[in-house]
Symmetry: C2
Subunit: 426 residues, 2 copies
């Protein structure tokens, strides 16, 4: 009898996929959640792993553990290599053996990677931030730059090592720049003998006319002022024309830098290619108002892999809360179909607010009906992130770690681990 | 004037080197501490990182940060490639440039690596546990074995993946075996759908006649009973004759295993070769009663890199407390020489106790005057380790993490990260 139940296959255990699986808890259906990683990652705090504030395990939790009590869900660790929408199967490879998994309903929630706009060779010089390995590799580069500056025998090389360039002025770039500036000015300040880490130069480069383009203009301006107070040099309307092991070219100016971080663009995962359907320039599948893929009413694409203009005419943004809402919505659509009921009305995104933090005690918050900046915004940002962290243990550990850092100015995860980055030697 | 001060170069920021540096705080001398890693590692808890209980940053702290207030110490991140005892220089390479550093006094505290008794090719199949990368690589293998068992299509492969062999019945092997058994029986128990992790087979193999050879016999017997209660199969007088990607050969019996962990032997770092002096079979330098190297009264070797029979006729053991005591002692010897005073009396090791833990609520403790086992020993073990952890933040985070694990049976650091291990595919 159990064999006759329909099967929902979900690809991706990020905010979208996980919320779909959870929202199907009550449905009479077998749910199969596939991810290439064993952990769900709380991506909004990933930059804090990259800047030595938090440990990977503080912002990640095993997918199996999050769903262990939900008996209708099985978790598969493996990489999806393709979808056969005619045969209704997903091809999964776990490195040891490959398998084709049948689905009745398919939810694709595979997210996005950073993109280099055709300059893929920049990646080794200017890594982006999407996975735990990305974060620990950036941490390695960043901390190693100060070590190499301390050991440098000529001043040109020393200055280069003490120059950090962050490309891209969205939330990740802004938060990263603020955090790096504080790392240099507070956490590392007293730890070296030949260099003064406080003299490190942190450059935030944005091609557009303002930072945080998705926020109101006055909050963008507030973010610039907060960053400048931390000593970050903000360059707007500035285009990066080249990246190599020695630095970057901004406009036509060469800037020698020991660390370059990419926060400028993302490209959706290859769902559109798997499904052979239309995508926008960033690779996102153009979905119907119920998140189904045109032509396949049993296939849904959600989160950063999809693009949708909702019933109010607003483009649903590529943020965690939107992916969660889409996951819950799609679970309702599938549940209704399974029960033979009418579909719920088309999806409407509820924007509960937009937050970004800039170092200690400064943040910008946009709730739509109210805009905040400064210390109050910062505390709100902190509480919101603690609240939405994925499980109890993480909340306590992160709250304590933040409190400790706040009081001592130290960073608890200042570890140089893993293989050396490719551009340590320029 | 500062140029005229003597310089003490310390190689290694483990228990021995760090305690030497700290004990020289009051001395009128420039101290230079060299390590190839940026962090001091609390090695006694490294097995808990390998078994997904703790995060790397919980048991490590940046060396610079630990010594930032001690103005007479500089820290150098780099790999020592040789010592020229005639010229009194240490060759250091940080990957970008190399340097020869002059010393007036030299303290070598470079520890030990695991050793394979001439079977170096076993290392890729049976990794040992000395660094953070070792620990996260073992964690990867261990967690991945359960994933591969869950996905396995034939029962032989499934059983292989659910078999873990730990080679070596010293404290590391015993603690690792207990922790793996509990991982399988408690933390993972409910998280899989096709396998029952509680049926995982954990095998602890010891070539000698008993576990924990450095403890009294009745505590060794207690350790066997505690492990058996956790479901560990203990094999004494059992020799491992081969290791490969598919398993091990114990005596003449082939055991198919998905995870093999090496805890059987160590080899001192190459200090003896650098100094061109006599070493024992494990590569440890035979030092004089004041830890100086025969023939070089300004060169000292301490910790796991040295072997010494103290004034009471006891061989100083290769444990953290002994290395710390040696570090403090050598700092006193050097301080006395700098002041032109008489040397302190020869070194005597003070054994404050010997502890090992076996899963939840069981441990063995040998204080010499009293022996303990069971729950009381376990609590003592926990408090002692929290107390000796290196800084305040780590103590609080580890204490909370242990409490949380104790109450929930969960493991907070269950992350599969980094490159796949070489023997995932047998």
């Amino acid at each position: 009898m159990a064999q006759a139940r329909s099967r929902v296959v979900i690809i991706g255990a990020g905010f979208g996929g996980l919320s779909t699986a959870k929202a199907l808890a009550g449905a009479t259906v077998d749910v199969l959640l596939i991810d290439q990683r064993n952990h769900h990652l709380f991506q909004p705090l990933l930059y804090q792993v990259a800047t030595a504030s938090l440990s990977p395990a503080d912002i990640a939790a095993p997918v199996r553990s999050l769903l262990s009590d939900q008996k209708n869900v099985s978790v598969i660790l493996g990489k999806v290599t393709g979808i056969d929408s005619a045969a209704r199967t997903v091809a999964v490879d776990n490195g040891v053996h490959a398998e084709n998994i049948h689905y009745d309903y398919l939810v694709v929630a595979t997210g996005a990677r950073h993109a280099y706009f055709g300059k893929d060779h920049w990646e080794s010089f200017a890594p982006g931030l999407k996975t735990i390995e990305d974060a620990t590799a950036i941490r390695h580069r960043l901390l190693m730059a100060f070590e190499l500056a301390e050991m440098a025998t000529d001043t040109v090389e020393r200055d280069r090592m003490l120059t950090m360039v962050i490309i891209g002025g969205g939330p990740t770039g802004v938060e990263m720049a603020g955090s790096i500036a504080e790392l240099a000015r507070a956490a590392l300040a007293k730890d070296f003998r030949h260099i003064d880490p406080r003299k490190a130069k942190v450059l935030l480069v944005e091609a557009g006319p303002r930072l945080l383009a998705s926020f109101p203009e006055d909050l963008s301006a507030a973010a610039v002022r907060s960053l400048q107070r931390l000593g970050v040099e903000v360059r707007l309307n500035a285009r990066v024309n080249d990246c190599d092991a020695g630095g970057v070219v901004i406009g036509d100016q060469r800037v020698r830098a020991g660390t370059i971080i990419w926060a400028a663009g993302v490209q959706a995962s290859p769902a559109a290619a798997w499904l052979n359907v239309e995508a926008d320039r960033a690779g996102r599948v153009k979905v119907a108002p119920d998140y189904s893929v045109p032509g396949y009413d049993n296939v849904f694409v959600i989160g950063d892999t999809a693009t949708l203009t909702d019933t109010r005419g607003a483009v649903v943004p590529g943020v965690g809360p939107a992916a969660k809402q889409a996951g819950k919505y799609v679970a309702r659509v599938i549940s209704a179909r399974l029960r033979g009921e009418a579909s719920p009305p088309p999806f409407t995104y509820k924007n509960y607010g937009n937050l970004a933090t800039i170092g200690r005690r400064a943040a910008v918050v946009d709730f739509g009906w109210i805009k905040l900046r400064g210390p109050l915004a910062w505390w709100l940002w902190g509480f919101a992130h603690i609240f939405f962290l994925i499980d109890f243990r993480n909340r306590v550990v992160v709250a304590f770690t933040w409190l400790w850092s706040f009081l001592t100015y130290k960073r608890g995860a200042r570890l140089i681990t893993g293989p050396p980055p490719p551009n340590a030697k320029a």
